[in-house]
């Protein structure tokens, strides 16, 4: 019997078209195929050929229809009504001409007077190469995207250690790894690639160990869950280092060949060059050649001749190999498992076992990929040896004030196992690895009417590279690259509003925000930040005189705008997901992609990219205008096609050259965009087999990378277990640096302590205030409080999505059941949750899968009523909450008016997860979330979702009738 027989035609495919583009329901950038029917979206599915998602799509991506249909879509530019207070969300619609005239006039004045008075922060921006270029051309150094409150600790630790990093610049070798350790991934990045990878390792029977205070999501399917106390991962990793060193289970060949383990460090305490590497006249690091008993340049020294331990005298200076320092530090009792157990809450025996399991797999179950290759010293190898132990780590490592050093500790552990960019290990993704750190110091000289002296973000190597004035005062509004956070490679967006309102280091004129919800989930201390946004000076002027917000939807931040510029949705616009920016490459292939509109907006909105180009021309920013002052580029597509960062290198790497025959480097191709459309909106350039591993020292890959413009030379990239950059800053802290140094004891002390050239564990700064840590009466704040990002919501973006909010519309405070029962805190009861910064009222939910000293909740589910089209009594507004209110953006002041930000002292990463809280039952009758904010008013022309029902379909359903014959002959069977 033909089962398809007699089935009706369900879909009229003649009315349907399919288009490819790139998802933007989160940061993964999966390829999607969109089926349209009569101008509406019938179906969004993963593109099976796309390198990021291979055809799969997450819950968010599958809910794109409801984002497109959101009643909270902005419709037209909005201007705050005359006499309306900021924050009251009383707007009038204005024309684009009016809006752009107003903004141009203001920006032109700022640019001609003092360009840094524009603070331009761009949230979850996927085109930072363009927004950053715009800021540079405008001349302000006050630009950054959201990395400072997201993952800069991961990026900076990786890039300052090995030239690639967790999350975007590397990934586990899912195809070959035999042992996978997942650290602190709070269901966050990355989404589909991690899930695809976990499936692969589960199917192959590889072991999966999850280090995490909470067991949900990925940790649910781990072979072993290790519930760790938040913020102690660095101690756990270094204790594993202790175990490996104590058994001499380290890959000495790997350390000698690819890391600076054999490099000689000056051991001259109190001297100027103390702790710096010894170098020859050509700048080469020196090693001790144990065969000739003499110091020699590292390049050219036989690998097995370089000493890893001992103390030597070179030209009258005492020096020790890096590995000798490593052995001394981590073999100490300080890092013994017995001590780590007390700090991490993980049994000493477990720590020892996990370390030895990894050693077993790395050294007794190594694998070979039989492809001949040549290393940077010209040595031929018959195969790539793999230590099939891999790791991934994210928010739980990143969001602490010790996250940078913790992430460095993980990279040290990986290096000792020889498990970096090898088969089965943690692999790099092009254009990484890059030199350690990548070249380019941050631009910081803002001058009237001129571009900045370089891109606003970069990688300082020494104190001279900081953005500070002659008195050591921060040049940037957010104080990134100041003594307070010298390696703040992603900026410190979380400090922009507080610093501007405090006038510390200076006030600004205009705050321009692009897709950044800074009055809600993207702010620490949200309640206070909302007050600050409307704070006025003695003269009655707002302390931030002008706030312009670019968003596609009615977010909480829109309410605080003076001018709202409405953006398109992701299905309505062009984008370039560029190798110059945040790459989507895979370890085996160089990749980039585009977004192409599949729908017309049908509202008076414009893609922010196009608006930026128009503003650039109006302001005559040099890169965007020709000699006559006219527009150099026709539109965004033309800009992406024709702009060259350096000759032959542009935003998109595929189909370059005038005829489209060149890849990676080549003249602009006027038909490049069409080629991408023909190729389903992505470009994938597979690497030859001999360039797929050990790329930090793979001769042919390094040459290829230079040719492709990924790097500026083809020198090998030595993994810096010992960071000379950190030591250089530490010398400045110790008063031993022959250049800029902090002019106060507090900054000096921070540099001396936290810029340790070897990774170390220290208690997160807020925790160090506990009485146990010698701080002020914090003994009551016994619980760690953290958040996770649910897999079906991307931060606050999806509160407006009826499908996703049906899955999760209220967050609870999850608490270990037994601990809650001991404290008499009932399931689903309401409690007061208090931190040093304030209190909130939340609803408890008991669970087993949470470390007993930890409480947690889903991030950003709480919403302000009225935003996102939600009704005033929506669960998100009435029962859901933000933990943010409890987190101060500042650490306690010194009494003299100085307070450091609540951020990692090395990178400025916002320390969301350092939070400590106490819990007490709410009084009878006290229920519902507190604080609650008044419902935001409706915006002009916006219907609002309200409480109505939705019946979405693109065509009337075609019912499958039960045949009468079937009913009559089979009855009820």
């Amino acid at each position: 019997m033909n089962p398809a027989r007699a089935l009706p035609d369900f879909e009229d495919h003649r009315r349907q078209q399919t288009r490819h583009t790139t998802c933007y329901m989160c940061a993964c950038r999966c390829g999607i195929k969109v089926t349209l029917e009569d101008g509406r979206v019938r179906f969004i599915q993963g593109n099976p050929r796309h390198p990021v998602n291979r055809g799969v799509l997450c819950a968010k991506g599958n809910a794109g229809i409801m984002k497109q249909n959101s009643p909270a879509k902005l419709r037209a530019p909005l201007l705050r009504k005359k006499n309306a207070e900021r924050g009251a969300a009383e707007f009038e619609e204005v024309s684009w001409e009016t809006a752009l005239d107003l903004l141009t006039e203001r920006l032109a004045r700022i640019r001609n007077e003092d360009p840094k008075k524009l603070a331009f922060y761009t949230g979850r921006d996927q085109m930072q190469a363009f927004t950053g270029l715009w800021a540079e051309q405008f001349g302000t150094l006050n630009w950054a995207a959201h990395g400072g409150f997201c993952s800069v600790n991961m990026a900076a630790a990786g890039l300052y250690t090995m030239g690639y990093s967790f999350w975007e610049f590397g990934e586990p070798d899912w195809e070959r790894t035999k042992y996978f350790m997942l650290w602190g991934v709070a269901e966050d990045h990355s989404s589909n690639p991690i899930k695809l990878g976990l499936e692969k390792i589960k199917r192959r029977g590889a072991r999966f160990v999850a280090i995490n205070p909470v067991r949900t999501g990925y940790q649910a399917i781990a072979d072993e869950w290790v519930p760790i106390i938040p913020g102690s991962d660095g101690m756990l990793a270094l204790s594993m280092v202790h175990v490996l060193l104590s058994r001499q289970l380290v890959d000495r060949d790997f350390l000698r060949r690819y890391t600076n383990a054999p490099h000689l460090v000056a051991d001259t305490p109190g001297g100027g060059g103390d702790g710096l590497l010894l170098r020859d006249a050509g700048g080469n690091a020196l090693v001790w050649n144990a065969k000739t008993n003499a110091a020699a340049a590292a390049p050219g020294t036989e690998v097995d001749a370089a000493a890893l331990s001992g103390a030597f005298t070179v030209d009258g200076r005492r020096a020790r190999p890096v590995f000798d320092l490593i052995s001394e530090r981590y073999l100490a009792e300080e890092y013994a498992p017995a001590r780590a157990e007390k700090i991490c809450g993980v049994a000493a025996a477990t720590i020892e076992r996990l370390a030895l399991e990894m050693a077993e797999v790395a050294f007794n179950q190594s694998i070979e990929v039989h492809t001949p290759w040549t290393d940077a010293a010209g040595r031929r190898h018959r195969s790539f040896t793999g230590r099939p132990v891999s790791m991934h780590a994210m928010r739980g490592i990143s969001a602490h004030t010790n996250g940078f050093q913790t992430c460095r500790a993980l990279h040290l552990l990986q290096s000792l196992l020889g498990a970096l960019d090898c088969p089965g290990g943690f692999r790099a993704k092009a254009p990484y690895p890059r030199p350690v750190p990548p070249p380019g110091k941050p631009g910081c000289r803002a001058r009237p009417g001129r571009p900045l002296d370089g891109p606003p973000l970069g990688f300082p190597m020494r104190p001279e590279d900081l953005a500070v004035d002659a008195d050591g005062k921060p040049l940037r509004l957010d104080k990134a690259y100041s003594w307070e956070a010298p390696l703040a490679s992603h900026g410190m967006m979380h400090m922009a509003i507080t610093n501007a309102v405090n006038g510390d280091p200076y006030p600004v004129d205009t705050l321009l925000l692009f897709m950044a919800n800074m009055s809600w989930n993207s702010a620490m201390n949200t309640g206070r930040v909302r007050e600050m946004l409307v704070e006025k000076d003695a003269g009655g002027e707002y302390k931030i005189p002008f706030v312009a917000v670019v968003d596609a939807f009615h977010s909480e931040m829109v309410n605080f705008a003076d001018l709202v510029l409405p953006d398109t949705t992701y299905l309505e616009r062009h984008d370039a997901i560029s190798l110059l920016d945040r790459p989507i490459s895979e370890p085996d292939a160089v990749c980039d992609s585009i977004r192409a509109p599949v729908l017309a907006p049908g509202r008076d909105v414009r893609p922010w990219q196009e608006v930026m180009l128009e503003l650039a021309v109006r302001l005559k920013l040099p890169e965007f205008v020709d000699a006559g002052g006219g527009a150099k580029f026709r539109d965004y597509r033309d800009f992406i096609t024709r702009y060259e960062k350096s000759p032959g290198i542009g935003f998109l790497a595929g189909w370059r050259g005038e005829d489209g025959a060149q890849h990676l480097r080549g003249a602009p191709n006027p038909k490049q965009w069409e080629r991408y459309l023909e190729h389903e909106c992505f470009f994938r350039h597979p690497l030859p087999a001999h360039m797929r591993f050990y790329r930090f020292a793979n001769r042919d890959y390094l040459a290829f990378a230079e040719d492709a413009g990924f790097t500026t030379d083809r020198a090998p990239i030595a993994i810096q277990l010992y960071s000379e950059v950190l030591q250089t800053f530490r010398l400045a802290g110790r008063g031993l640096y022959p250049g800029p140094q902090p002019n106060n004891a507090a900054d000096r002390a921070r540099l001396a302590k936290y810029f340790d050239p070897l990774p170390f564990y220290y208690a997160p700064l807020d925790q160090a205030r506990d009485s146990g840590g010698g701080g002020e009466g914090g003994e009551d704040f016994l619980f760690h409080a953290i958040t996770q990002r649910p897999m079906m919501h991307y931060h606050s973006w999806d509160g407006q999505n009826p499908w996703l909010r049906q899955i999760l519309a209220q967050n609870h405070l999850y608490m270990n059941r037994r601990r809650a029962e001991q404290l008499g805190i009932g399931d689903l009861s309401w409690v007061w949750l208090e931190s040093r910064n304030g209190k909130i009222r939340v609803q408890i939910k008991h669970m087993e899968g949470v470390q007993p000293d930890t409480v947690w909740t889903w991030n950003a589910i709480g919403k302000q009523a009225g935003t996102g089209g939600l009704s005033a009594d929506a669960n998100e507004a009435v029962d859901g909450f933000l933990l943010n209110h409890l987190i101060s953006e500042l650490l306690p002041g010194d009494g003299a008016g100085r307070a450091y930000s609540n951020s990692d002292p090395v990178t400025g990463q916002a320390a969301w997860y350092d939070l400590r809280v106490r819990i007490r039952a709410a009084a009878p009758g006290e229920h519902g979330v507190w604080p609650r904010f008044p419902a935001a008013g409706k915006l002009p022309g916006m219907a609002g979702g309200g409480a109505g029902d939705v019946h979405y379909q693109t065509h009337a359903a075609v019912n499958i009738k039960r045949p009468w014959r079937d009913l009559l002959t089979r009855g009820h069977k």
Partner: protein, 218 residues
């Protein structure tokens, strides 16, 4: 043919991709729309064919978290069919897919009470019962590329925890993996004691993979 799904609880991370893909496809599918109630209001609800239940097994620290997707299991002996007073619910003889003829359904809810798996939902807007159709409007649609003639949930699952196929074919992927992974007589059937003989099968979470420590015994 006996079409159905295997669902691998060993790799399901509870991400809800399958549930939303189902919702998305079937909104404009053969029983669409799938009404969303109070879409932007308090206690939003609506019709879903597939929902993910989350369980914890065992007490801390020996606890395990299990994510459990639940949809119509297309039972061999489907009581939802036998209790239906109008004959709207039927099981196709050709492939075993259990469907609800929307023209005959009067929304009496008997089938929902009969189904022990909670797999049927009343759409208050249409007054009819709606449920998983195994994407019958995808799997037989020859206008779709052959590799896409799969239920939406299967196509989208990021951990490949869902497989679709013919359980009558012993060599089909679903038959083979179900045999390999379930030694027990009930072969991964949910609530076998009830005797409904569900077609969909579940693959239980596996014993954790272990590795010996360096220098340790086997």
């Amino acid at each position: 043919m006996r079409l159905g799904l295997t669902i691998d609880l060993d790799t399901c991370v509870g991400c809800n991709a399958c549930a939303v893909a189902c919702k998305q496809w079937n909104a404009s599918g053969t029983t669409g729309p799938l009404t969303d109630l109070r879409a932007y209001g308090r206690d939003p609800g609506g019709v879903w064919f597939n929902r993910i239940r989350n369980f914890e097994v065992g007490d801390y620290p020996d606890n395990k978290t299990v994510h459990f997707p639940m949809s119509c299991l297309h039972c061999e002996d489907a009581h939802c069919v036998s209790v239906c007073p109008t004959g709207a619910t039927w099981k196709r003889p050709e492939d075993g897919v259990v469907l609800v003829d929307q023209d005959k359904c009067m929304g009496c809810n008997y089938c929902a009470w009969a189904c022990p798996y909670g797999a049927r939902e009343l759409d208050p807007a249409s007054g009819t019962m709606k449920k998983c159709t195994l994407c019958i409007d995808r799997i037989y649609d020859e206008n779709l590329p052959e590799e896409e003639r799969q239920p939406a949930c299967v196509l989208t699952c990021p951990t490949k925890a869902r497989l679709f196929g013919d359980f009558d074919d012993p060599e089909s992927e679903v038959s083979r993996i179900t045999r390999q992974r379930n030694a027990e007589a009930d072969n991964g059937a949910l609530l076998p004691d009830l005797g409904y003989t569900p077609t969909n099968r579940y693959l239980a979470p596996r014993e954790g993979v272990k590795v010996k420590a360096y220098g340790g015994g086997d």
